[in-house]
Every structure is written in structure tokens, then in C-alpha cells.
Amino acid sequence: MNDILVQIKNMCKSFPTGEGDFPALKNISLDVRKGEFTGIVGPSGSGKTTLLNIIGSLDTQTSGEISVLGKAIDKLTAKESAALRSRHFGFIFQTYNLLPVYTVYENVEFPLLLLRMDKEARHKAVIRALEWVGLMDKIKSRPAQLSGGQCQRVAIARAMVKEPLLVLADEPTANLDTENSLHILDTMQRLNSELGTTFIFSTHDQKVINYLKRVIRLVDGKVASDDVVKAG
């Protein structure tokens, strides 16, 4: 099927420790298709973030195969890997990871500068992204002047501004209260349905899980279950 974005076969990942290798992911096999709103859920230390990092080409597997957008992650050079992230991936982090010295506008504009997009197209895209997340009134604010929820909305705008094929969100609601969490999730769900962007979450937050269309449960680095909970 040509709508498969992520294809993983028998993938393992282990980390060296003082007492030998620690297996973080064991024999993972799964596919993620275009437009999915999927969550990798499980307790702390189950390997969620490790899996998300490998999908996002920030890390590589120890064995097995993984291809994202048809590209084998472990075969990419650093430059190719950076280009893949820059063009096709959006990242949302638990701690927002905004550039503190940039304004909201500049933070959202940043990924487009890496893509060398021209000024006019850049401006249109940034305004559109900020409208999606409802932060047009905070355009000149710095991250330090925003609440946690607003920061995460800026992070979503930054991830979405280039309309990536895949958004990887690592515990996006972990630092937010319920109201902000639901607001964020509503926004992402809307973007998923309106733009068809694929979202993969790493979470153990029940509020997030309630929004997911597919839940991949990891326990001790293994896929314990993989369920479609809502029709796409």
C-alpha cells in the first residue's frame, strides 16, 4: 500500500549500560498509515519515546528494519536525516522546547527558514498556523510571556506550519492542566481531519488516549496490543 508512512519490521533497540545492553524495544513490527491519529501508550520506561525518536530519525534501531516515507532510517546520512525532519516531520515536545529568544511569530517561522521558503509564502504560512491554534494576538510575545497551554499551542503551530506529513508528539499534555490539554487535543484532532496530517503520540495520559483512533500499547518494549478504537 502506498499510503503507509511508517513501516517497522522486527525492530529492536538496546542501550549499553554498565551491566551490558538494556533492551528498550523488542521485536517491534507495525505500520502507520497516512492520516492516522495514533498513540503509543504505556507506562514509563516502556519504550514509547525511544520508538518515537527512531520514527523521527533522531535515533536508529539496533536491529530489524524501519522505513519512514519509504526511506530506511538507519541508512540515512546526517544531512539526509536532517532534510527528512525538516521537510516532512513536525515535533511536539512535553516541555514545548521553544526558542526563548524568539517571538511567537519567529518560533513558528523558524522551520520555514530552514526550508528556505520565500518571505511572502513564509508569512502566509505562519499567519495560517497561528490562526489554527488561535494565537494571533500573541504574535510578538516571547515564550516567557506565555502560559504553558499557549506555549504548547505555539509548538503545535511550529510543527504544523510546514504542513508536514507526520507529526510526532511526545507527551504533549504532560505539563498542561485539563482545560489546556483538551484545547490542545481538539486543535490537533481538527488539523488531523482538516489537513489529513498523520499524528503519532507517545503518551500515558488518559485524556490523550480518549482522543486516539488507534492505540498501540507497549509493555516492557514489546507491543502488547494494537487496537483501532475509533473509525478513521
Partner: protein, 398 residues
């Protein structure tokens, strides 16, 4: 304006260092002080060398010298033997004020009952090539031979204008003769070798006492072209040769000063290095984010190196504010050395030293600072290439 990725890096780097507040300001001020100090020091040595060369030319060796082939300025025993007759060509050059003959002889003087060895130098009273006030040597109405001495010698001998003393010297046949001298002028010369241990008298009088008519030991030239008059009696010494010892002396002093400034540069670079190391440690999460957003680690290294280099850019601005008034002051008012420097035997320091700042001097100072700042900024960033993005995103890794 279209913003290129390079401009974006520059803007981000600029924002980052300005966001560092006082820590950045301290780095910039330290760099600015070192930069201003370095330019000041290099300008001082440049001006000293220039001043020494100019003053030695004006007071001692003109545009070159013809030396009698046996003359050795460091061997007083050679002075009695080192003299030669002046050729017709040389006489013509002297008559045209393009050359000045000087006859040298060892002598002993007896001021106030004391005895001291000196070098007596006979020079035409009407010469115009050197700045020596030789016109005073014409006046001999008192019955004494007029003599010029420098302030340093006058101080050592405790004699003053108008004092008289006897001088004993050998003539061409080796017989001793004497001359009663009267000091007509105590001159202040910026060139110590014109002053120390030298007594200047009229050439004709010295030639007469020495029974060496129409002879000289050295000939000061007003034009290096006259160096071609060198023959088997005379050897030509160019200005470069004559200044070689002075240049060596300046270089030696310069090396000493550079060790000190090297230390200052090292301390300034240590501040940058330390800031960079701390910055890399504190901003690991940011590094991870930049990589996640699609920056290559090479670009992140470039960003951090740029931040270090921007300290220098700001330091140049601060240095201009601090340095330009200082540089102007030393260019306009100069730097007067303490009087003790007169006895140091170094040309170019006994008069007020006015500084000049050639562009190549400023450029070389900037290049030295640019290279060292780049090195101190770049070296710590090499850690970035060893940092795993996943660790960086979690604020881990070293």
C-alpha cells in the same frame, strides 16, 4: 528583506548572546580591552621604530654612511687608524651640502681636574644635513676651541655651557697634542649615541691638530645614491644596515610585551571558552530541538561558533568607543617618557612619542583576535557533534 538561513543563524546567535545579559557584556568588555591594548601596544612599537629611524637619520646618519674601511664603532683602538682622504667626488658632494665628513678620534679630557676618555668628532660648522647645532662651533673669539656636548655627557662630567677643559689626543704621527676647549652649547639630542661620550668640534680644527688635512672617518650622506662613491677606502652602509640594531632592540622589547599580551588574550579567550562550555551545557535541550527541527549538527556548531565570534563584533564596537579617544590622545599629544629614559641609550624615546596607527597594524590586531576568538568559540562546540539528539532533547549528555 529576504532572510537566508545564514541570516537566520546570525539573528539567532545575536539574540542568544544579547539574552545572556551581563555575562555577554563582561566578555565583550574584556575582549574590547584586550583589543584596544593590543592596538595601542603595536602602535607604540611602530611609532617608536618610526621615530627612532627618523631621529637617527636627522641627527646621526642621514640617508646612509660611508665609513672608512677600518672603522669599528665598538673598537676605540681602531679610531686613530680609521681615516682616509676625501676624493674629488666626495669633496664635490660635501660642497653641494649633500654629504658631511666627520673625523673621529679617541681623546682624553680633563674637566675640573678629572680624567675621562671620550670620542672627539670633527664636523664642519656650516653643515646643514644633520640637526646638530654646529653653527656654534664657528665662534672662537675666546681663544678656546668651541665644543658641543650633549646633556647626558654634561650631566656626567658636571660641566655646563661656558666651562673650559683640556683635551689630549694623538696626531697622525702618534705624537700627543692638546686642545683647550670651551663648551659653547649643551645640546639635547633624542639620539643617545650623538651625546654619550662624544665631544663635537670644528672639523678643520680637528684635522689641523691631528695633522690629517682633508681627511675623515665617516661621511654622512644626504642621498643614498652617493653610496656609489664607496671605493677601496670607504664602505657604504645603508640606512637599513645602520638601523638593524635599533630594529633588533625594538623586536626584543616587542617580544617581551607580546608575552604579556599573549597572557591577556589567553585570559580573554578563557572567558569565551568558559561561556561557550557553560552555554552548551545549559542549552542542550535547545540543541536537541534545533536538530529535531531539521538543522544539521554542523549548522548548530556554526550557530554556537557564530555566537562566540559575535562577542568580538560587539567588542570591536565597544573598543572603538573606548579606544578612539585614547588613540587620538596619543596621536595628538603623544607620550612623554620619564626623563630617566634619556640615559637608557635607546633612540626615539627621549622626545614625546606621537603614535600613528597604520591600517595594516589595526587589521593584523583584528585578525589575531578574530582567529583566537574563533578558536575559543569553536573548540567547545565540537562536543555538539558527539551529542546524541535524543539525549540533548532530554537535557542530558555531556
Amino acid at each position: 528583506m529576504e532572510r537566508s538561513p545564514q541570516m537566520m543563524l546570525l539573528k539567532l546567535a545575536n539574540r542568544n548572546i544579547l539574552g545572556n545579559g551581563k555575562r555577554s557584556l563582561i566578555n565583550m568588555v574584556i575582549l574590547a580591552i584586550v583589543l584596544v591594548g593590543m592596538i595601542w601596544m603595536m602602535a607604540m612599537f611602530h611609532s617608536w621604530t618610526f621615530s627612532a629611524a627618523q631621529q637617527m637619520g636627522e641627527w646621526e646618519h642621514g640617508k646612509g654612511l660611508l665609513e672608512q674601511k677600518d672603522y669599528d664603532p665598538y673598537d676605540s683602538f681602531s679610531w686613530d687608524k680609521s681615516h682616509a682622504p676625501l676624493s674629488r667626488e666626495l669633496m664635490n658632494a660635501i660642497a653641494a651640502d649633500e654629504a658631511v665628513p666627520i673625523l673621529l678620534s679617541p681623546a682624553v679630557i680633563y674637566p675640573q681636574g678629572r680624567m675621562m676618555s671620550v670620542q672627539v668628532r670633527g664636523i664642519p660648522a656650516d653643515q646643514k644635513l644633520l640637526k646638530l647645532p654646529t653653527s656654534a662651533l664657528r665662534d672662537s673669539s675666546s681663544g678656546y676651541a668651541p665644543a658641543l656636548i650633549g646633556t647626558m655627557l654634561a650631566k656626567n662630567l658636571r660641566i655646563k655651557n661656558g666651562d673650559t677643559f683640556t683635551m689630549r689626543l694623538k696626531d697622525a704621527s702618534g705624537a700627543y697634542d692638546a686642545l683647550d676647549l670651551q663648551v659653547v652649547t649643551v645640546m639635547k639630542s633624542p639620539v643617545p649615541s650623538v651625546d654619550g661620550g662624544a665631544i663635537w668640534v670644528d672639523l678643520e680644527r680637528l684635522q689641523s691638530v691631528k695633522t690629517m688635512p682633508n681627511e675623515a672617518s665617516i661621511i654622512v650622506l644626504g642621498d643614498p645614491v652617493l653610496g656609489s662613491l664607496a671605493d677601496r677606502d670607504w664602505k657604504y652602509l645603508s640606512v637599513e644596515t645602520l638601523l638593524a640594531d635599533t630594529y633588533k632592540l625594538v623586536e626584543t622589547k616587542k617580544a617581551g610585551q607580546f608575552v604579556m599580551f599573549g597572557l591577556f588574550i589567553f585570559l580573554a579567550m578563557l572567558a569565551i571558552f568558559d561561556t561557550q562550555v557553560l552555554s552548551l551545557f545549559m542549552r542542550r535541550k535547545e540543541i536537541g530541538t534545533l536538530v529535531a527541527l531539521g538543522m544539521t549538527q554542523r549548522k548548530v556548531i556554526m550557530l554556537f561558533t557564530l555566537e562566540g565570534l559575535l562577542y568580538l563584533v560587539y567588542a570591536i564596537g565597544i573598543g572603538a568607543v573606548m579606544g578612539i579617544p585614547l588613540f587620538l590622545y596619543f596621536a595628538l599629544h603623544g607620550w612623554s617618557m620619564p626623563p630617566e629614559y634619556d640615559s637608557f641609550g635607546i633612540a626615539g624615546l627621549s622626545e614625546t612619542l606621537r603614535f600613528s596607527y597604520p591600517p595594516n597594524l589595526i587589521l593584523s590586531s583584528l585578525l589575531i583576535m578574530l582567529f583566537t576568538t574563533w578558536l575559543a568559540s569553536w573548540l567547545p562546540t565540537l562536543r555538539i557533534s558527539r551529542l546524541k539528539p535524543t539525549d540533548a532533547l532530554r537535557g542530558r549528555g555531556r
